[in-house]
Amino acid sequence: MIRLTEAPFDPGALLNEFSQGRTETGAVATFTGIARAEKGSTTVLELEAYPGFTEAEIGRIAEQARRRFGLHDFAILHRIGKIAPGEAIVFVATAAGHRRAAFEACDFLMDYLKSKAPFWKKEHGPDGERWVEPTAQDLADRDRWN
């Protein structure tokens, strides 16, 4: 499942839906990214996607993760539009037979989403707004998988 949404979402409901009826999976790892207030310096985060293209690009990488880590399944939900501090921005769940594969695939997908997925992110704060690009750490994290 790959989905973009403009509305706030419920990570717990997604985790339960994702885990349900799995009698051979063994391991479900999740990551929830939450908008940070940055001690008041960010009041709203704004995420833009390229509808159609963004889902297709994520799908391409998710299929690569499925093969590389032998995933049984994955779910990726990403907020777009304006997001308040404390709200979830992204939710990734991975299911595998054993925990190592589930953890690594979840980590891999998040590194991809942070540094290479077609999203553009703007921080709005009391001092105005600024576009955010991947940090050196994001690029180094991504390069671990090459």
């Binding site: 833009e48 390229y50 297709a56 990403h78 997925a117 999203f119 553009w120 690009e133």
Partner: protein
């Protein structure tokens, strides 16, 4: 007429998000954009910028069909 889409900081820089522009190739399109907005055209050549034609990333120049969708994509950052 190519449908030209600007994302992220390009949209703020240009002041528009989507335009119809008649251009036979990507290089023609870049020249037309540069004639109207030199600052935007320079930003579109920046490091890490990608171009998608009909939702596929392309490198270098290419001919554009009459109904092409051309998107200029700043460095990406989700999550």
């Amino acid at each position: 007429m190519a449908r030209v889409l600007l994302f992220g900081r390009f949209r703020d820089l240009a002041g528009w998000r989507e335009r119809e522009i008649a251009a036979g190739s990507l290089s023609d399109l870049r020249a037309l954009l540069a004639a109207g907005d030199a600052e935007l055209a320079e930003a579109l050549e920046g490091k890490g910028v990608q171009v998608a034609v009909d939702q596929a990333i392309v490198k270098g120049d290419m001919a554009l069909s009459a109904s092409a969708e051309v998107a200029f994509l700043p460095p990406m950052s989700g999550g």
